[in-house]
Symmetry: C2
Subunit: 700 residues, 2 copies
Amino acid sequence: MSLSAVFNPKSIAIVGASTKIGSVGNDIVKNLATQGYRGLIYPVNPKVDEIYGLKCYKDISDVPETVDLVVIAIPASFVPEVIPAAAAKGAKGVVVISAGFKETGNVELEHRLAEECRKHNIALIGPNCLGVINPAIYMNASFSVLMPKAGSVAFMSQSGALCTAILDYAVKLNIGFSKFASVGNKAETDEIALLKYLYTDKETKVVAMYVEDLKESGKFIEAAKKLTKSDNPKPIIILKSGRTSAGASASASHTGSLAGNDAAYDALFRQCGVIRASSVSQMFNLIQTFTSNPMPKGRRVAIVTNAGGPGVLTTDMAISCGLELAKLSPESIIQLKAVLPPSASLANPIDILGDAKADRYAEAIRIIGQDPNVDSVLIILTPQSMTQIEDTARIIIENKNSLHKPLIACFMGETTVVSGIAMMKSSNVTVTAFPEEAAEAMAVLTRFAEYRSEPEDEQFDFSDIHYKEVKKIFAEARTKGIKYFPEAEAAKILKLYNLPVLSFDVVKTSAEALTVAKKHSGKMVMKIVSKDIVHKSDVGGVMLGISPAEAGEKFDEMIRLIKKNCPKAAIDGVLMAEMVDRSKAVELILGQSKDPSLGAMLMVGLGGIYVELFKDVAFGLAPISKTEAYKMLSQIKAHKIIEGLRGQAKLDEDALIEAMGRLSKLVHDFPEIKELDINPLALFPDEQGAKVLDVRIIIE
Amino acid sequence: MSLSAVFNPKSIAIVGASTKIGSVGNDIVKNLATQGYRGLIYPVNPKVDEIYGLKCYKDISDVPETVDLVVIAIPASFVPEVIPAAAAKGAKGVVVISAGFKETGNVELEHRLAEECRKHNIALIGPNCLGVINPAIYMNASFSVLMPKAGSVAFMSQSGALCTAILDYAVKLNIGFSKFASVGNKAETDEIALLKYLYTDKETKVVAMYVEDLKESGKFIEAAKKLTKSDNPKPIIILKSGRTSAGASASASHTGSLAGNDAAYDALFRQCGVIRASSVSQMFNLIQTFTSNPMPKGRRVAIVTNAGGPGVLTTDMAISCGLELAKLSPESIIQLKAVLPPSASLANPIDILGDAKADRYAEAIRIIGQDPNVDSVLIILTPQSMTQIEDTARIIIENKNSLHKPLIACFMGETTVVSGIAMMKSSNVTVTAFPEEAAEAMAVLTRFAEYRSEPEDEQFDFSDIHYKEVKKIFAEARTKGIKYFPEAEAAKILKLYNLPVLSFDVVKTSAEALTVAKKHSGKMVMKIVSKDIVHKSDVGGVMLGISPAEAGEKFDEMIRLIKKNCPKAAIDGVLMAEMVDRSKAVELILGQSKDPSLGAMLMVGLGGIYVELFKDVAFGLAPISKTEAYKMLSQIKAHKIIEGLRGQAKLDEDALIEAMGRLSKLVHDFPEIKELDINPLALFPDEQGAKVLDVRIIIE
């Protein structure tokens, strides 16, 4: 199945073509017939002879020639049966506009539709969508009237209604599209399929998407990385809704899909270099920025302004988004001094003063363009009485390409400055409406450049894990109806993945306890083993600091206590392990959190009450790479403790990273794991490793 | 001195009027002469007879009549001498456009100018400014060519160049101004004076300001509260630059003023209900929102949309800004069900579907307007083929006033929707360019309504403090050249303000130590007292858990150790105090931070390594009220510990608040305190109070 028939058809049939003005089936024919599409158009409607001058066919089987693409806008229940007929006509793609599938509960009907398409090797867009547009061939196979100009941006949206708004904004913003699609319920063609297609699409340079949910994180990452990591990268900008739980539930009622936990999406996007837009407005700024700028070499931005206040506002935003103010080279300072008036500010932001004409902008841009200390340029203009708006726009347009550095301009205002803004936009200069937005967009471009320059992810080598043994344990548990694995059982599973669990024994008599105790030289800890007891220490089920000699009597004491406190609990024995000196360790929490769409995530954070208080945790989609584990750690504030805060010892970060990797592999290998918490994991200084001090697993 | 002559003059002289096109002195005369000002205009220039048809005078003393306002645009050094001549003509106000004062280092000249104005009872705007505009009387006494429309917004800016940009945006956004002023260096008229004037100005309903620095926080708070807390409030929206340190330094080079620490400004604004705009764009959205909406009664927002995706995006932003999605009443649900198609979403956001015409919007607005569970309304529209853009705009305009609830609309797009947007803007409906901005603005309006409904601040009663004794201590210290007050000395000072310091004695012999020990029943702590020793515990200068009987020998041991480890240190004795059981206490840090412009701030936060790691601290400008102390605590995450995290005991919050109040009073009463740290303050459970466990003070 290929999407090329969808986006570049030589002939299109519209099943459900209609003469009723304002209906979807009418709009689509009208858009195809009147907006310049040069391919063949076959309206299909049993009751009509002609629409917009086009001969209308009773049935798709009546169409005399081959049909590449079929657009369907008839009641949902009749849609699946169109597919074999379309296939018989040679169709390679269908776009199903009709609603009434999964989003209204008709899951089965949607499955049938997808199945028919797969069977006939037909690419399916939708159902429940607005349609697709390819401006380069003037094909508007949608019911949105606006035909955007052709360009290099592929826009794909899970919301059809948003598409019309995007097209409406795009005209004013002068954004051109390579491909435009409303993907609806994504019964077959989802974002992964689209990314694969757009990777090879020559017209597309930037991909922008509106997304409510994604699936199959592994495949998504692979598909996305092909674009973001290629030598000639195609940045992917995603506006993802459902950031808040209320937002997610609104989305669920909207498309019938479960929007995932937001942390999972942040992790997903980070793991494949996808740029997440924070708003519709920012998405447009980023689309502009990424389509018309080279990558910056670093974070050092220079700001040229004819107004002090806006220069400060721009600086504020630049710094708070992670950019750095470039420290101009001495040569630049000398050159600026020679061309600017004495009261101009030569420090960055470079204030060329309110009476600056175009020539002063030209000089400043030329000088900082040559400065090796400057990685990117922001130009701010306020309309003073001397300001030459169009001449300055021209200067920026002329110098932009020779700069070899990204440049974003903001001409502040919407009245006297409009001609300059229009000139720059039509010459591919990135222009934002407000100065803060320029800084923000440059910061995002810079972060993408940094992502691009990162080396390939370093992978873990886990050839020593015992996958089959764990599989067997879970299989047996399922047979027995066991779902909960308390510490001793859970630790066994972790050990099979070589996680640093304490070596322990489970003993059933005081004599066994004494035998085991002989293996230990230092103090021990004893814990009751019982599936019926969750809070062990509350009932006397935990004893610390036991010397080998007293192991026997302590065993008896614990059994007595438990029998008294929990007479009904089934006792499986007593766990004996070495007593860990926690005084030098820092306690972390490692666990799994599950996203309903994206699957298992690894969580790492500072343990104790601080997890709850500061929520200082990071997430990564399992399985993670070594590089990703390190990135997760660098996101949490507790990372400073791991690195050795205030002259304290550095902790064994390598051991932690290894543990994170192994745990992520475990939860990835076994999707039946519903909950898994290692709390705490004790992390020791220097190279003294880490120890799992408690763990529990629940499977489903 | 009154600013009414500045904003409502009957006659204006322009000293420095010029015939040179493009010069400031020419622009001002042209703007006054050609934009409709009906008062008398007297250009002053010794070399010219006439400008723009107006007779020109050689000297201001030649003007035949009284002059209310004098606008001055001549070289800086000649400006002060104009003032007596202006006064002689009866001037009550001057606007000094000329640059070359404080901002270029001529501080003395600026002082002279201000002094002259004060002497002659003349209100002074500037110097180094763009001028002032009063659109209601068509007075444009500035060198910006754009005359905005008259309205209810007073805009005041510390950046002149920003003013022209603001005027340029305002035309398109349809914002009208009551007063418009560029305040320049603020030699005399600063924000406090402006707020006092605008409080009484009948035309002004909303105040917006661009600010780089403020002074005299107490007076600012008083002046601002008059507006924000009055029965008919005037919201104050401030765009404050210098958020980041790099931003602050750019600002310093720009206006020659020291931009303050941002935390101080956040505290200042919070303490008087000032709304801080995060960007130029947000400032405009807030200006619109506050000028045309009633206050919401609560946080419960209803969203009406014809597009699911944008509904979710709006919800996301609403929730993350602190709004709540209204839960519609059962009556509303029934009514909506009756008028909306079956597939419409009746849950909030109310999705009236893509084929919604104006009538569906009308019904939805009417129904949620009557719903007592809805406090505010957001209307989202995307341009679908059936959408009635102008009719829907009309519906919104018609229903807006009868709603009695704030309403913000977003018609997404910039092409087909523009006519509807223009209609709404000219009918005082708040419209944002993007849906997220609508939610953001509504959240800010809601927060202001909440501020308005807060009761008056509860004040502390500190009649028991010993101000004079502390004054004496500092005076003596200054005489002796003492700047550093180590624990024992600092604790004495705190005690005079009744802060909960440990009772202690300083002993000089082992015999004294034994005598003092007799007063104690429990364990004691002993600490060396020496101005030469900072890290006491490193040199054996701290001993814990000493029983009364061993006090004498421990004294001798400590002295021996110190003499060995710090042979040159002057020993002032050994401090003896009860040993506090820290095990149940939580350790906090209380301290002072100083803002260069705004003065002393109190800081409170979680102590230990977590201060550094999580920066979980809050600031308040001293002196704070009881209410403010509580607000500060509610800002830090550690507040949950104070309230009793996870079933642990609630700590003695009242004692902490009392300590915060007393400390803020101390640092406010004594501006010579440069540094003060109570670290830690132990806070105990229930009503067991707080204890200062260590403290140091540095004065300057």
